[in-house]
Amino acid sequence: MAGWTSNLSQWVEERWNLRNWLSPILDTEVTEYKEKMRFCWGGMTFALIVVELITGIFLAYYYQPSVKGAFQSIAFITDQVYLGWLVRGIHHYASYLIIVTVVVHMMIVFFRGAYKPPREMTWVSGVFLLLLCFAFSFTGYLLTWDQRGYWATRIGTGMASELPIIGEYLMIFLQGGYGVKQPTIIRFFISHVIVLPLFLIGFLLAHFIMIRRQGIKKPF
């Protein structure tokens, strides 16, 4: 190792003694069965989630959550902002890929029986993460405020209205009014960029802590 990096790490070590503190994370042995492709799908999902968080933060610098501004600001991001098309494209296609990796991850966990006790709560937290992914997709779809997003939202909230007893209330609650209008954009935007990410981080932490404590299920 070059001189300055060891100096730096020594400087950090002298002050905060991080190596000891982080050793449960850094020194965990990666066993052979973990190197196979079928154990990678959860990690790939997480990597894509990180990509979504980073590109999403960049998009939020230009996006305007309003009836007049939404579509125009997205056109502005795509056509005017330097590399805007790239950031938006990554955010868009990574969201599709997440659904793919999540489904593959869940199928592998299911068919290996890895959801069984003592790991059942890891599975339950994973189901909440799946529902969060759907909520992200649903709220993000409207934000472009194009024909597809608008009608998809009309259909989604219409589905909610068909629930017995609470249906109509739920539709008005989701839309922020009788129609899909300005209040709906604000609702979906704040959910998409603040509320859902907070829940996502919480459930991811729970998911990862449980995996660390219990280890990955050994092959049959």
Binding site: R154, S161, E162
Partner: protein
């Protein structure tokens, strides 16, 4: 020792049950507090009454002079409403497709309303002909003509037989 035994003799069921009761009360208070916070969040996020403006009742949509031709005429206005004139006179329908809420358009060649989303079709009388909108017809609207003005009555509340999203969308003004 003797003293302690004496105390225990006086209280045959010692503090355990009291502790249980206190624990129960604490749990109840905790749940109550949690419920108070959660219900406040839901109440806060519920759109207030003043934000729920219904578009309903009689709306002036056009002028008789626009319907001079005797043949079928369709006209769009800033409302989810279409006006039709045929041999029998003026008719009006909601343009909201009762399948999933897209806006139907009039096809002059085929003489029917067609929904661009899933290909539902309705005849000039609003009756469903084909597609996934079955069994719902286009919602007919009441028409009133005063002088030259044509007014259409948008439904204000219950629409028996139609799904609830349809009713909410009708009063949203689209």
């Amino acid at each position: 020792m003797d003293e302690k035994n004496a105390i225990e003799m006086k209280n045959p069921t010692p503090s355990v049950s009291r502790r249980k009761l206190l624990r129960f009360i604490m749990a109840f208070l905790g749940l109550f507090g949690l419920g108070a916070i959660l219900s406040s969040i839901i109440v806060f996020l519920t759109p207030p009454r003043s934000a729920l403006k219904k578009v309903g009742g009689w709306q002036v949509v056009g002028n008789l002079s626009e319907f001079k031709e005797s043949s079928l005429v369709k006209t769009y206005f800033g409302l989810p409403v279409i006006l039709i004139k045929n041999g029998k006179g003026l008719l009006s329908f909601s343009t909201i497709c009762p399948h999933l809420g897209c806006i139907v358009i009039w096809d002059e060649k085929k003489k029917w309303f067609i929904c661009p989303c899933h290909d539902a079709a309705f005849d000039a009388g609003g009756k469903v002909l084909k597609g996934p909108a079955k069994p719902y017809n286009l919602l007919p609207m009441e028409i009133k003509v005063e002088g030259e003005m044509i007014a259409v009555k948008l439904p204000e509340d219950k629409l028996p037989g139609y799904p609830s999203w349809f009713r909410i969308t009708m009063i949203s003004g689209v």
